[in-house]
Symmetry: C2
Subunit: 229 residues, 2 copies
Amino acid sequence: MSFTYEFERPSLTVDCVVFGVDESTLKILLIERGIEPFAGQWALPGGFVRMHEDLESAALRELSEETGVTKLYLEQLYTFGAAERDPRGRVVTIAYYALVRLADHRVRAATDARDAAWYAIDDLPPLAFDHRKIVDVARERLRGKVRYKPIGFELLPHKFTLTELQKLYEIVLERALDKRNFRKKILGMELLVALDEVEAGVSHRAARLYKFDTRRYKRLVRQGFNFEI
Amino acid sequence: MSFTYEFERPSLTVDCVVFGVDESTLKILLIERGIEPFAGQWALPGGFVRMHEDLESAALRELSEETGVTKLYLEQLYTFGAAERDPRGRVVTIAYYALVRLADHRVRAATDARDAAWYAIDDLPPLAFDHRKIVDVARERLRGKVRYKPIGFELLPHKFTLTELQKLYEIVLERALDKRNFRKKILGMELLVALDEVEAGVSHRAARLYKFDTRRYKRLVRQGFNFEI
């Protein structure tokens, strides 16, 4: 079947907002652009979609090429296509986002990226294009997502203390939580299994370890349970 | 600034899933394609994004051209870009969705559409491309949206009975709701103002009329209140 397209067509890119958590901070993976436009400025990792490549594959490829980061679960965020968003001409970008443990990913810049680094979300440099706006939308989505899915299932070690889980929630939600309320709510979901073990390396008042009840976790997510804290 | 693009680039379209409610049914606005591929088959209204046109403008333009439907609030749904989704070659589509009152919109086919019509969601004809999948994603999103935003604010007349509101919820959620539970929950949100009026044209046991408390509605939506029923 032949296909004629009468119009000049927009270019298509993908961009990735990768959130990383360490012990205390929410960070974002940025690259320093090695090419024009905005050479020398920081931006989200991303690039042009190839002709025979699925969108998510393009996002994973660009992320891997520019930052060395691989093996993560990307979700589509939003497509940004304002007519004037790119000085090169019409470029529509499909943004993806992910939340990972910083410790699990080694960063190494290459191809179009002169450098790659994690930046604390509250201390971002000026970003190229409309990438600041994309970051803000991703941040909002990340916060909203806790309603559908408890945080931590993919991010915490297999066994963890309630303090570790609360800390993770506080980092991702970017606000302090009341300890008693948090414990009441999270235990009320019956999502956690209390283990007959306490944290290692603490001799006095070591905290109990918990793990996620995988089956119940999956069932609740399927049911659209509201996990709000 | 000059811009060289080394690759052949995908084409970009927009598609619209417009849900319409009447007194009893959830429907979707479809067009019968007048051109190849899939000429004579039903599909979502949509088409190619022009070079200097924002994405939402493109969606509104295509909708208006193909179906005559205008003045509605579209939200971006998802971008579908599987490499093999279109027999014409690589076409990435940005899908939008909306929920309207059927009675507010007159449908009239034109341009690439040979016909345009509302189809009950449970009685859709086979659809062109991957449009059935797009409809399913939109349906899921519509159901999920009730968490963020009560249904009806834009869809009901200014004054309505609780029975009318419940009916609207049942149509959109596609399930029956228990009358007592529904009333308890919806009144518990303190979203509605009871008026000193009853429905017209009913002499015996006429039901009380309500309206939305606009200010409280907006505040709760801003706060991310959970409106689940």
